[in-house]
Amino acid sequence: MEIEAVKYLAAGLAVGLGAIGPGIGQGLAASKALEAIGRNPEASGKITPLMFVGMAIAESTAIYALVITLLILFG
């Protein structure tokens, strides 16, 4: 294979595989947060921002994968 083709393949694989874990994690965070709001609707104002913070931290690994992808493509 040519180096250019391998580059595109690697970039796609990097971000695709790297997004699996954060996808699962964010889904879990959202499902638990919605469950909590369902049990106690008055606490939704407190739960929602914390859910976003947790999701943002779970997202970090996907962001690292994106950095690697951008490095492969443009670096």
Partner: protein, 202 residues
């Protein structure tokens, strides 16, 4: 003097933001000191993100030998801007950590020769501090940049109608990411400000 509608709205915005900051970092002097920075970061990034959605401004471009260069792009899609903001946030976090824990305790957290395990953990802490810069800046940059690229790709696939749901998603991202950036900075600062107390209790 009776406050007008605009003043009421802005006061409501500020007071609810202040209550939120208090709920994370705890009431008192800490919240008072950190609130201006966090609120400024939030409203600054929010405005920078939302200005992209003004209709018509994307068409304003400059003629150049390489073709039309757009004058108004998403501000956050430029890494320099995000990097500057992140470096500012990280420097403040480190300064807060040094002030609250004392310079020797602060250094001792990273360079620790008491046991091999602690030495290793110190090195890991050092790496995680550096990784904060990358993860904090690329979270904001990556989301907005990826949104722009996605919009462009959808525009090529099927113009006019296919990009609309993605534009809406971008609008959501613009608000949420501004919020997340400010709140993560707040959480880092509050973690750094509790470093001194942890040493005593542990």
């Amino acid at each position: 003097m009776i406050p007008g509608k605009v003043q009421n709205f802005i006061e409501m915005l500020i007071s609810s933001a202040y209550e939120f900051v208090e709920s994370i970092i705890g009431p008192g002097k800490k919240a008072e000191r950190v609130f201006p920075l966090i609120a400024t970061m939030f409203f600054f990034v929010l405005l920078a993100n939302l200005l992209v959605y003004l209709p018509g401004q994307a068409a304003v471009s400059l003629a150049s030998p390489e073709g039309a260069v757009p004058l108004f792009r998403a501000v956050v899609a430029d890494y320099g801007f995000v990097f500057m903001l992140t470096i500012l946030a990280i420097i403040i976090v480190q300064v807060v950590a040094i002030v609250s824990a004392g310079p020797f305790n602060y250094l001792g957290r990273f360079i620790n020769f008491r046991s091999p395990m602690k030495f290793f953990l110190g090195i890991m802490d050092l790496i995680s501090e550096v990784a904060k810069i990358i993860s904090l800046s690329f979270r904001l940059f990556g989301n907005v940049f990826a949104g722009e690229v996605l919009g462009a790709v959808m525009l090529f696939l099927a113009p006019f109608f296919l990009p609309l749901p993605f534009l809406f998603l971008g609008l959501l991202t613009a608000v949420v990411q501004a919020f997340v950036f400010a709140v993560l900075t707040l959480v880092f600062i509050s973690m750094a400000s509790e470093m001194g107390q942890e040493e005593v209790s542990a």
